[in-house]
């Protein structure tokens, strides 16, 4: 679930009385994610350190002059660029104190805005639609500037995006109620004009937001009727002839936000990641109108994920830098950190793992749908994430090897060296996006092992798996590899920590575990908790501790005899009554099988694979399940010890499935017939117990009725007798 964290105020605002927008003209990221520059509509640009809520510097133009566009920061040169009075471009550095003394250049046409995407050169957008790179403009400030837009066409919104190869300036215009999108490519220059599909009479988009994703520019826009659309624009340069004509822009409706009766006035929507958008100025669906909310919506599931009521008037302005939202409201500009973990329906599919308390404490990272459906590549890093890893890499590089370097190392180095580096990497693990990087690491390890039979680093992998950052879909070859290498400890860990193991693989593991000889199994070092559970179960195997509700297997045997007429069968069954209490497998093997019992599965998918088992394997497995079942039913304490253990229901489910899959074989097999009879007798006794319980149900209900006092009203006339 996406979540909005507790916000804090970055700076105060002079409350705008009648204006639709706040005095904030723009917020741009400065040198890193913790610094922003805020341009206000009066005359000043302020640099803030966000985490300190503190201004670091402030620059103001002279009285009578006005800043006409938001200042930007050029990371290449560490310079600030702003435009005053539409025509004067100003450039200064952080140590310039007086803005008037800094560099100024007057250009020949009115500037709309200056954009400086990450790591790119600043680009200047003129009011009439022309775009120039700053450097080339400053080389001849008075150069003539062409008019791209027609008469009455005005720019409504603009931004700039840098792709791998290209820098783009995107802006939208309005002309007589029609809206157009211009995609201006720089170096080489080309412009593409798109027409936005009209939404309805008089409805103009309230806000735009663009992000670069999967080689497309993704444009998000919000209409006053609450409709949120997404349009994908390819960044590839069009064919030569295409460039000139106006193409209609296809759109997908992402959301239809509830707006109530009135249309929205000031609102905006921005992308947080590929599945979440933040919306401001749209009423909360369950709060009344007139309340101002900041909401996060999941576009995949169309659900409201988080909402926060904002005090004071909202201006429909919203910025987002590195998991922080900047929102002016009332008398303050607030910073609200947010988190958008990928949501999934994984938990809704198949049988969910038995969640014990310790598991629920740590959040498990669930792989996104993209990863599952399209493999690793589809989940291309988003710009925000890329930036983040870049910064973290920067901080790590001085200490030791980065993930990339370790990945390279894995391709070549010896097992020992790899293990050492992986351990080192894990010890200073960066929590920002561990899933991706560790997944890559595991992939590298596995592919090396697959390619080079001599290379297998069990230690590195067993360290990686418990980080809970991996899943089967991230690294599908890991578990089969472990099986192949007979690394059963790793198998156990995978079964324990992966929630998305396909049934085929689960069955393969089960097969391997069952056919494992007990002698070999004893030598394994397994997860201690699972072994202790088996030890506990086996230690009181013969100690007939307190019987639950008076149930005694022998009693039930005797009880059953009157139902079974055949005295021979009776004797036979009596003889067999005791052996069920001994465990048919060793404790290590049992611990491994227990792990299988606790995995998630879906019956329909599991059954075909279960059919592949040989009858011996099935009988052994069934014996073990019967043992577990008997222990659980006779000894109520076996499940209340705090160890991670299969539940009685899980055991029952597996028994049923196994019988479903192999019933005909089992019935024919002479070895299994006793087992089946035992199971049947046991089930019969259970059924009998429940029918007995059913009989006393009436009496119990009568008891509860007696307890309930008759509700005497305000007045009644009763007859009473005293003896």
């Amino acid at each position: 679930m996406a979540a909005l964290c507790e916000g804090y105020t970055l700076c105060g605002l002079v409350p705008a009385v009648n204006r639709r927008s706040s005095e904030i003209k723009g917020i741009e990221e400065e040198r890193d994610s913790d610094h922003v520059i805020v341009t206000d509509s009066s005359r000043s640009v302020t640099l803030y350190k966000v985490s300190d809520q503190k201004p670091l510097g402030r620059w103001t133009v002279k009285q009578g002059q006005l800043l006409t566009c938001a200042a930007v920061f050029n990371k290449q040169t560490n310079e600030y660029v702003a435009v005053s009075d539409n025509k004067v471009i100003r450039i200064w550095k952080e140590d310039d104190i007086i803005l008037d003394k800094a560099f100024k250049a007057t250009v020949s046409a009115d500037v709309q805005s200056v954009h400086c995407a990450h790591g790119a050169e600043p680009a200047v957008l003129f009011q009439r639609g022309a775009v120039r790179l700053l450097d080339s403009l400053l080389s001849a400030p008075q150069q003539p500037v062409e008019e791209v837009l027609v008469q009455d066409e005005a720019i409504r919104w603009s931004t700039s995006i840098v792709t791998d190869t290209q820098q783009l300036v995107i802006f939208t215009t309005e002309l007589k109620g029609d809206h157009f999108l211009y995609l201006q490519r720089l170096k080489p220059n080309s412009v593409q004009k798109y027409r936005l599909e009209p939404e309805g009479p008089g409805l103009s988009p309230l806000s735009f937001w663009a992000s670069y994703r999967d080689k497309n520019i993704c444009l998000l826009y919000l209409y006053p009727n609450g409709h949120v659309y997404q349009s994908l624009v390819s960044v590839r340069a069009p064919e030569a002839d295409e460039g000139t004509q106006v193409v209609s822009l296809p759109r997908d409706q992402l959301l239809s936000l509830p707006v109530g009766k009135e249309l929205l006035e000031a609102a905006s929507a921005i992308f947080l990641d590929d599945a979440h958008i933040a919306v401001v100025g749209v009423p909360h669906p369950s709060a009344g109108p007139g309340k101002d909310f900041l909401c996060i919506w999941n576009t995949n599931f169309q659900t409201l994920q988080a909402a926060k009521e904002m005090a004071g008037k909202l201006y429909g302005q919203l910025w987002s830098f590195s998991s922080k939202l900047f929102i002016p409201h009332g008398k303050a500009l607030s910073v609200i950190p947010f988190a958008c973990p990928r949501s999934s329906l994984a938990s809704a599919l198949g049988k969910l793992k038995q969640v014990k308390t310790e598991e629920s404490k740590t959040s498990t990272v669930v792989p996104s749908w993209n990863t599952i459906l399209h493999g690793e590549e589809a989940a291309a890093p988003k710009p925000v994430e890329a930036r983040k890893t870049r910064t973290t890499r920067k901080t790590q590089s001085s200490l030791s090897l980065t993930i990339d370097q370790v990945q390279d190392l894995i391709k070549m180095a010896s097992v020992e060296e790899v293990e050492k580096e992986v351990q080192g990497l894990l010890s200073r693990q960066d929590p920002n996006d561990p899933q991706l990087s560790l997944g890559q690491l595991a992939m590298a390890l596995v592919s090396r092992s697959l390619a080079d039979p001599k290379f297998y680093s069990s230690r590195a992998l067993t360290q990686l798996v418990p980080t809970r950052c991996l899943s089967h879909s991230v690294c599908p070859d890991l578990l089969p590899l472990a099986l192949e290498k007979r690394d059963y400890f790793l198998c156990q860990l995978c079964l324990l920590f992966f929630h998305d193991i396909p049934e085929a693989v689960t069955c393969a593991c089960l097969k391997a575990f069952i056919s494992l000889s007990d002698l070999d199994a004893e030598k394994l070092s397994l997860e201690p908790d699972s072994v202790s559970f088996m030890e506990m179960l086996l230690s009181n195997e013969h100690a007939q501790t307190g019987l639950q509700n008076g149930f005694s297997p022998t009693f039930c045997e005797e009880d059953r005899t009157d139902a079974v007429d055949n005295p021979k069968a009776k004797a036979k069954e009596k003889k067999k009554a005791s052996p069920q209490q001994t465990c048919p497998v060793g404790k290590h093997k049992a611990a491994l099988i227990n792990e299988i019992l606790q995995t998630a599965y879906s019956e329909a998918l599991l059954l075909p694979h279960l059919k592949d088992f040989s009858s011996d394997q099935v009988v052994l497995f069934l014996r073990y399940l019967e043992f577990l079942y008997l222990r659980y039913s006779t000894d109520g304490s076996s499940q209340t010890h705090g160890y991670r253990s299969p539940s009685l229901n899980q055991v029952m489910d597996w028994v049923c499935m196994l019988l479903d899959a192999h019933f005909t074989v089992l019935v024919m097999s002479p070895v299994a017939i006793d087992l089946l009879l035992n199971l049947q007798s046991f089930v019969k006794s259970q059924v009998r117990l429940f029918s007995e319980l059913g009989k006393i149900e009436g009496s119990l209900q009568e008891l509860s009725k007696m307890k309930m006092k008759k509700d005497v009203g305000q007045y009644s006339i009763e007859v009473m007798e005293l003896y």
Binding site: Y715, I717, E718, V719, M720, E721, L722, Y723
Partner: protein, 688 residues
Amino acid sequence: MIQMGEFKVHRVRFFDYMPSAIRSMAFNSHTERLAVARADGAVEIFNFADNYFQEKVIAGRDGRSIEALCWVGRRLFSAGLEGEITEYDLENLRPRYSIEAYGGPIWTISSNSQGTLLAAGCEDGTVKMFEILEDRIQFQTNLSRQKGRIISLSWHPSGAQIAAGMMDMIKIFDSETGQATHRLLVDRGVGTSKSREVVVWSVAFLNDHTIISGDSAGKVQIWDGLTGTLISTHLVTKWDVLVLAISQDESSVIAGTSEGTVVQFQFLPSTVGQQDKFWVQTRTFKNHSHDVRALVHTDTAVVSGGMDTQLVVRPLLDKVEKNTQESALHKIAFPHRNLVSCAKKAGLLLFQFPDHLELWRLGESDRNGTPGESLPVKRKPEKLIQLKIKGEDHICCSALSPCGSWLAYATVAAVRLYRLQLSSSNVSIQKVSKLPRELKSVHQLCFSSDSCRLFASSSFSSVVVVALDQTDCKYLHTLKHKSGSKQPIHILSPSEDGQWLATANTDCEIHVFNLRKMKLHCSVPAYSSCPTAVSIHPTSGNLVSVHADQQIFEFSLKQKEYSVWSRQLQRQGLHPLWLQRDTPVTQITFNPNNPAHIMLHDVFMFCIIDQSLPLPEAKSKFYNQRILRSLPEPQRLRESHAFKACKNFQHLLSVNLLEDLSLVVVERPLVDIVCQLPAPVRQKLFAT
């Protein structure tokens, strides 16, 4: 036909009796009397030496709000937000006088241990000193005036100093010079309450000059009163600490909080055997759902009261013997007197509220049924009259004549008598305008069984007899006894035949007057425990009395001696379970059909004593009705004993036998009272 022991029961739950919240308490350890002030201005006196019996009730009045009570010797003073100090006349159950303190609302009063001075803390920031004279109090001096109200006061036992709890601070005054000698600043609460002034709700000044304070930030603080320094702070609640009480030996302090808890602190050495002691938080009692506004620390128990209207006596288990009557928790939720009068012949009920009376006609059913059955109600009960009192004084007693044609009530100021005329369709009420002037200062009213006489207990334990006829009422006589006791009569009980009138007063005396001769017939030998119910048998003329210690006596008026049955009962002793009940029997009635039956009830049970049956052995099962029901008839007779107790009805306020031998049971379920209380302070429950 109705069999022996079978009754048609009118089960009445429409008496909306609502007790008032407890505001303040004071305990007189010499007389062992606890004075309790309620939010409606009423003052009640409980006798802790006699099974916590509620001896006296002084009715409140509109607009009187008592903030503090104080005993000075046997004299009781109160003060409240109306700015007056009142002394009570405990013999006539009325305020003796009130003196305006001229300092605005009074938050607290406290007398020095010598009993010579009474200090009052006022809204205007003054502590006013009153000299306690023989018959009144007289203003003596003001201590130096402070900014901010004086909320709480405590004298040093020497009387030389007095500590005053104020807003944000505690001041210590020299009581001689009147100058403040120390100022102890009290921290405000953390968080949002930082901006709010902290109120020092209570202070206690100990002999070793330790000052203990409880404040609205939830703290109990221990101060050194000599240096004015803070010794320790104990945060006991998120809400207010409203009241503190110290034990007589100053080794234990209890603090009452808004959460309904009482927290105990004890002065203990940190390790066993060491000399230096510290105040240590030891126990927490939770017996209230709402604010604990009043606390008393007796030698053996914690007595607490508050918004939830119940008086709770929680014995300290280290001070009493375990598993005895004394170690049991007592909750007093209902008054120990009757608020319901029943007109036996007319089937009417009169409910007494502080400021009004309600007259109801019972419903009817034309069917008979088997025991345990509810009968269909043919006619619903009906409220005939709601009589609002005139004036500000609350009702102290009321009575309805058995025929249902007279209604009387009294306040401390006046007695009012009404003539009722009820037909099936028409109700008329007419005030009797001219009452004899002897009818004043009345604290108990009663009509004779033929409704021709009105008896009113008056001052000096006297009874005024007034004759009633169709048109007027005439003073006949004042009955007086010669014992010299001036205590008020709390029980008036005329005999059915009109010959006798029994009276009982809080000096534990029972006097019987001959109404034909209008003079004292005899006095029942005095018993140490106060009678809680007295009644004269209609045929045998025996007087049956039940006392606060649950003893039952039967006194023959003819022979002037205890009856044989009574002596046998005393010899054999009552059943332990009977003695363990903790609410007094408040009513005794007789069954005219069966002279051997005595019917009595307390809050939790209704009992018929059959004098013809053997008394229960100590080992036999006392509450045996359920067993008897399951036995066949002959065996039942063998198994049964004299006490036929019925616990079907709970929270009984009154049980009466109508003329048609059906019972009227008035219940007031405690849950109905609790659900009318305001919401308690919000408490965080687990998983909410």
